[in-house]
């Protein structure tokens, strides 16, 4: 590395961050310490360095003191490194002659002792100054952004994001990938939505159709993303289309094949109805499914399972659309941005065995109740007991798998409201007496509390207390042949036993079971409860740590439909903002070779995970292909002669930082 051309004139700017830093770190003392460091010609303190006056102060100091290097000691570089790089660049200094020292997340917020916090801040600033002294000017590389977008998940979030993107993004394609045979997600299962009680299908199905016919959307239903490589603006994606055993282009959805199937009765559990209704091996998930194409389940179809069948479906199909030899096929795409909208998984009620789900008759989850209440559901909109009677009393148990130390500690946010909605609908359809057992009634939201008040005035019975168990063991004649809900009524102060005909478990929302695989594929992080992690909880709620990948809906945490749609819109707009800018800056943290030191041993070539290092046979040295290098520095750590180094993380820079912190 060449020594700096001119003597360093370093400015150190220490931020109080209101009282966030000032309250713990003795900032005036730190400024005094910094001013005495070698190379520092100016040091000062300001309340909010990131604010406009703070930025101006830096620019002014650069002019006044002829600074050629800048250190800002404030928050984490994750938050404001870009801001200050822009500021120094506007002041006429190369942005890579700037260094950010983290004394908020790294010091004042994590340290109790004020003396030790001040000492820590000083040593970090010492290291920062030593480092910036040796830093060299660099240029960020810019790359074009591919205008195509990948949207993963075809629920309400994915559909809304796709439509927003497709409407704005003239010419470019939105690739919407849904692993189920139909888009629509969980919302398609609902009958009504809270608090307005408008019909879910009426607002959802037009959107589903719009997605299907939109010229800018390519729908990949019954498909999964199998790999994602590349980086912001330039992702390479592989999608696998699972075989439907139907030629999608030919099938017109007449459903004659289903009628003609050798199975005269529907006898296999229908996934869309959560197994409550039956279907044939050749089926359509639900009447409004989009795309309206049939598919064959290879585990149920006689021909696909055993190899022999009369294949009456083929004879019935006038379009010759049935292809029993279909194989999975893969397509490769190039996209610039990705929206992840993979939704949630309902809590498995078997994990709370005291509530008898799967053991006692007439105990259902809330999602199953949604299907019972749907006019296209197994009982055509009227919940019925297993013996075919209408229930006279129904108990709804809140917080099953939420706010519970044994399962999930978080609140699933939507269950109170949907339980109230279910109570209203059950009452409306069956006339049953409904009891809601809750811990706290949580109804924040526009019109939500009013909905709760309405339900109370309709005569809903609410009991405050976590249910201990649901049992069949009757103690009195009135309890005989009923399910008995035993719960402490914490307002009345005694234990109640309420006999009911049917129990509904308000199950919480959990991350999809394969979130970890998805996270690995896309290089995202998850919070400790397993939902995908946003970049910043307040200021970057749909961005992720991986540039160009955005998250929307319940994959990020439990949320209701309005919030999900709002996030989907936000994710689409973030993606569009990248697309319209047209270029992304790639950090120049790439590997560089000092050819004079390279012995040509090729150790680095095997290290590189991106195949970015090649060997020059003539010169007998290695060379780095800059566009392929992602800047991890693993080659630099392995080089035995010190020929390989990483820009902005050069060995000298790290060594200077080490000397500074001690």
């Amino acid at each position: 590395m060449n020594p700096p051309a001119e003597a360093p004139r370093i400015g150190v700017f220490v931020c109080d961050c209101g009282f966030n830093i000032l309250g713990v770190v003795d900032v005036p003392a730190v400024v005094k310490f910094a001013a005495a460091l070698p190379g520092v010609v100016h040091a000062e303190e300001y309340k909010y360095m990131c604010s406009d006056p703070g930025q101006d102060l830096i620019k002014k100091a650069v002019q006044e003191h002829g600074l050629n290097r800048v250190v800002v000691a404030s928050c984490s570089p994750t938050l404001h490194e870009r801001t200050f790089r822009r500021v120094v660049s506007e002041a006429g200094i190369n942005p890579f002659l700037f260094n950010m020292v983290n004394i908020r997340e790294g010091v004042s917020w994590v340290t109790e002792d004020k003396v030790q916090a001040t000492e820590k801040a000083e040593s970090l600033i010492d290291a920062g100054v030593r480092r910036v002294t040796l830093q060299e000017p660099l240029e960020a590389r810019s790359e074009p952004v591919n205008p195509n977008v990948l949207v993963i998940g075809g629920g309400i979030a994915g559909m809304h994001a796709s439509l927003s993107l497709a409407n704005a993004n003239r010419g470019a394609k939105v690739h919407l990938v849904e692993r189920q045979p139909s888009i629509g997600g969980n919302m398609a299962r609902f009958d009504k939505t809270f608090p307005t009680l408008d019909c879910a299908s009426c607002i959802l199905t037009p959107k589903m159709t719009e997605v299907k016919i939109h010229p800018n959307i390519r729908l990949h239903s019954y498909s999964e993303v199998v790999s994602v490589d590349g980086y912001v603006g330039n992702f390479d994606v592989t999608i696998e289309h699972k075989p439907r055993y139907i030629n999608e282009d030919l099938c017109i959805g007449c459903l004659k094949c289903i009628e003609a199937c050798v199975f005269k009765d529907a006898r296999f559990p229908n996934e869309f109805d959560l197994g409550l209704a039956k279907r044939k091996p050749i089926y359509i998930p639900f009447p409004q499914a989009v795309p309206t194409k049939v598919l064959i389940d290879p585990h149920d179809c006689l021909y696909l399972r055993l190899g022999t069948c009369k294949k009456t479906c083929i004879d019935a199909c006038e379009k010759d659309a049935i292809d029993l030899e279909q194989k999975p096929d893969r397509v490769s795409l190039k996209v610039g941005t990705i929206v992840v909208a993979t939704g949630f998984k309902p809590f498995d009620a078997r994990r709370k065995p005291q509530y008898g789900y799967g053991v006692l008759p007439n105990v259902y989850t809330a999602l199953e109740m949604e299907r019972f209440l749907s006019p296209t559901g197994p009982t055509e909109g009227v919940p019925l007991l297993q013996d075919g009677r209408k229930p006279e009393t129904v108990g709804i148990i809140h917080c099953v798998g939420s706010r519970d130390k044994n399962t999930n500690e978080y609140c699933s946010k939507v269950c109170c409201m949907y339980s109230l909605k279910l109570a209203h609908l059950i009452k409306e359809r069956t006339g049953a007496e409904v009891y809601n057992f809750y811990i706290d009634m949580r109804t924040p939201g526009k019109g939500y509390e009013e909905f709760y008040e309405r339900l109370l005035s309709e005569g809903l019975k609410v009991i405050r207390g976590r249910v201990a168990e649901v049992t069949k063991a009757a103690l009195t004649r009135a309890e005989k042949d009923h399910l008995i809900i035993r719960a402490e009524d914490t307002l009345a102060g005694f234990v109640r036993r309420i006999p009911v005909d049917m129990v509904v478990l308000a199950v919480g929302l959990e991350p999809q079971s394969d979130t970890q695989e998805l996270r690995r594929m896309l290089n995202l992080s998850c919070g400790h409860e397993g939902f995908l992690q946003e970049l910043h909880p307040k200021l970057a709620p749909v961005s992720t740590a991986t540039d160009g990948i955005f998250i929307a809906g319940a994959c990020q945490g439990p949320k209701d439909i309005p919030e999900t749609v709002a996030q989907a819109g936000a994710a689409a707009s973030e993606a569009l903002s990248l697309i319209h800018r047209g270029v992304v800056e790639i950090q120049p943290y790439t590997a560089v070779v000092n050819e004079e030191l390279c012995s040509g041993c090729k150790v680095c070539i095997g290290m590189c995970p991106y195949d970015a290092i090649g060997y020059d046979e003539e010169k007998r040295v290695v060379h780095v292909t800059e566009v392929k290098c992602k800047g991890c520095g693993v080659c630099a750590a392995a080089c035995p002669t010190g020929a390989m180094d990483q820009q902005h993380f050069r060995k000298e820079l790290v060594m200077a930082e080490i000397a500074g912190v001690i």
């Binding site: 997340e105 002792d113 040593s123 996270r519 992080s525 520095g633 060995k651 912190v661 001690i662």
Partner: protein, 148 residues
């Protein structure tokens, strides 16, 4: 092998161990940010040197830190399988195993050099790691390693 003299009692109480921590940008540095945002307090003895990937950490960085006066060195990276750069952390793991053995041969106790996988949401794990390591180092006393 270096013989470490027991320092006088008062000096031992005033002395604070110094840990140099090399954290990868994507997981462990993110965890340290999260610790800040969540106000998870931990021992003030650690100083973080940020690198893009734990795979960048040249064993000579660790030796340099000890030579400059560190009492302990901590490497933090992504969990196996979670590396932002596909597999940099596996290389770190292999290097660290060899390095740990070498440091012990040089008389530097095992507890003074740690490699931990700390994910981006693992603020509590970070706190535990730093606090435990600080306690271990207080028990061991100053290193005062003069290098090889």
């Amino acid at each position: 092998m270096a013989v470490v003299m027991e320092p006088p009692k008062e000096a031992q109480e005033a002395w604070e161990p110094r840990i140099v921590a090399f954290f990868c940008n994507w997981c462990t540095y993110a965890a340290s940010d999260l610790a800040g945002i969540s106000r998870v307090k931990y021992a003030p003895n650690m100083r973080i040197v940020r690198v893009m990937c734990s795979g960048r950490i040249d064993p000579s960085f660790v030796l340099e830190a000890f030579r400059d006066g560190a009492d302990g060195v901590l490497i933090g990276g992504c969990n196996p399988g979670d590396c932002h750069y596909k597999e940099g952390n596996y290389k770190t793991m292999r290097r660290a195993m060899l390095l740990s053995q070498m440091l012990q041969d040089l008389g530097i106790e095992k507890e003074r050099f740690r490699l931990d996988w700390i994910c981006a949401s693992c603020a509590r794990e970070l706190q535990t790691t730093v606090n435990h390591m600080t306690a271990d180092l207080k028990r061991l006393g100053p290193l005062n390693w003069k290098g090889v």
